[in-house]
Point group: C2
Chain length 345, copies 2
DNA sequence: TTGTATGCGTTATCAT
DNA sequence: ATGATAACGCATACAA
């Protein structure tokens, strides 16, 4: 099936390719009638300009990429939604890549984007490797990069993230105020930017309340569900925490399961708060206290910044850090109870 | 900054462009040492082949598109994950488009894909308009299409979906067996393929149990949260159902909220079951009985089929319908209770 | 194994 | 307002 191209269309109309080309571009001078005639015929023959020829000619792709570490998370769905919506508004296409928390994958993806495939990248970092050379390739190619949520500190790029330190501090303090004295911190990887910052908030809150921070109350989990459960079980049995602050929703869910299994009553025996974008946190049993990040906003904002950079290529691309405030929503899982048992009568 | 291209690289090496080109393609004959020399120099000068020139030359893009109606849904996150993973394995890139349930958007997206941007499309349909001409464009261009979950019946394309009719029938029967006599059916749009099929299962189950089906127990909702709540309230106040089958998770969540608001006890006064991929359905209050679709599998399978078609271009592209079975997971929200109130003592 | 020459489909420049 | 032509960067058929 011989593809239709501009030459054939021109021939069929008895016109030149330049005229036909003009019909598909808005600005050029062309007789409205001719244009109409061309478009009609194009429609009939099923012609539309070949994308790759145009892109080659104009050296632009009208495409951006989103790179995220995972997908199992409400946060990322919502953020992507914000990015995609913004891209659509700007007439851009959106490529999506999931690294599954693998920095090597991330590097591979980035490399595959540098040959003109995209004009910009919005990304949430996948790890905390030390050399982020792969990201420099983008800069060399003049491809702007905007981080959201998880950033690499050593990379010069604007980052749209949450006020994680403050939120973590507050959430921990919230647990303390409501009576917790032995608070566990649940984290996937305490060396990754986000795990680290959130931990700092936790540590500082403990300190400011004069509570000791015990290493074994910092529970580092993997991404594997079984493993998470085991880590929690091990640490809880030994350390007997009376509360926990989970840096990631998934860890809180496993904690809830563990508590149910060992009949640890929430909130009387144990309190729990976590970062989460779950819309139905209030319908859980018990209703879960959450730190809610503005995920959609974050994605949208990151994309907006990217498109600004794309418009004024000349604009100063200084590294900016934009913090969008999270909201702490206290629910039953951290409520104060008249805990007669604990008081002793 | 004058971009580096194959000519400059060749010049820098004192070689011809063809030799350089060969170094980046695996099959061609080339002296390994030359190749190595070229690659090293390329790395140094930051050269990689221009994507659009290559694509134009080879007329292939190594890209597929995913088109989905919405993003707020666990089902789609998981399905996309399956598709993206499969694409990655096949060395393809993945464009994503969200229609927000707008068939016009869908058509616009499709059109923008027909100029060579993608080699294939995986999509979940956004509506039930009658003319799906926009999809014929794909066929004309020889771009294979695979539906997942929601299909257009009039379009000749393979569809990977759930055994929705059977699941709906069973779920409704489950409610009946557990004592419900006035069962509501909650649906976003009863004319869309999936809403229609699921309704048929519901209706047939009622019929086979000898229960009447009352029109006003079929509650058609929009996508707007407020509206959903109002529709449910209106119908529930008038029709006093003692159970409901929700074709979409979101509707069930609103139902739960409504029940809480009006102190309708679940499962004693009212039972609820719904389609949902929520992993934490068992942690809701009450634990929610669900029909769980294999979302990840569905996406994966749809992508696999697409890539098969992409490999053997010649393969018979007959319309196939592949049904992946869902699992009904009964939980407390549909449990039988010793309902002394109801029995009258 | 390497080089030469041509064309992929489009758009911009220049001429008419 | 329209047409002729060159160039975008690459990959292949063919020649050496």
């Amino acid at each position: 099936m011989s593809q239709i191209n501009i030459k054939k269309l021109a021939a069929a109309l008895g016109l030149s390719t330049s005229t036909v080309s003009r019909a598909f571009r808005n600005n050029s001078d062309i007789n409205p009638l001719t244009k109409e005639r061309i478009l009609r015929m194009a429609d009939e023959l099923g012609y539309s300009p070949n994308l790759y020829a145009s892109n080659l000619r104009e050296s632009k792709s009208k495409t951006i990429a989103i790179i995220i570490p995972e997908f199992d998370n409400n946060f990322f769905s919502q953020a992507i939604k914000g990015i995609e919506q913004q891209a659509r508004r700007n007439g851009y296409h959106t490529l999506i890549y999931v690294t599954e928390d693998d920095v090597k994958q991330e590097a591979t993806f980035i490399r595959s984007l540098c040959n003109g495939r995209v004009e910009g990248v919005v990304m949430s970092a996948s790890g905390e490797g030390l050399k982020h050379v792969h990201l420099n390739m983008l800069k060399e190619r003049g491809i702007p990069l905007v981080f959201f949520d998880r950033c690499y500190e050593d990379v010069e790029a604007t980052c749209v993230t949450g006020n994680d330190y403050e939120s973590s501090y507050e959430a921990t303090l919230h647990l303390i105020m409501n009576g917790c004295k032995r608070i566990a911190y649940l984290v996937v990887n305490k060396n990754v930017s986000i795990g680290k910052i959130r931990m700092q908030g936790y540590l500082d809150a403990l300190k400011s309340a004069g509570l000791p921070c015990e290493d074994e109350l910092i529970i580092e989990c993997t991404n594997d569900k079984e493993e998470i459960y085991k880590s929690i079980k091990r640490s809880f049995e030994k350390m007997k925490p009376d509360g926990a602050f989970a840096s990631v929703e998934r860890l809180a869910m496993t904690t809830l399961r563990y508590c149910a299994d060992v009949k640890l009553e929430i909130p009387s025996d144990f309190k729990l708060v976590c970062f989460s974008c779950l819309e139905i946190a209030d319908m859980l049993n018990p209703p879960l206290s959450t730190i809610k990040q503005p995920a959609f906003e974050m994605g949208k904002r990151a994309a907006e910044i990217l498109f600004e950079a794309l418009c004024n290529k000349e604009s100063v691309t200084e590294k900016q850090v934009i913090l969008l405030p999270s909201t702490i929503i206290p629910r039953k899982s951290t409520a104060v109870v008249n805990n007669t048992k604990a008081i002793g009568l």
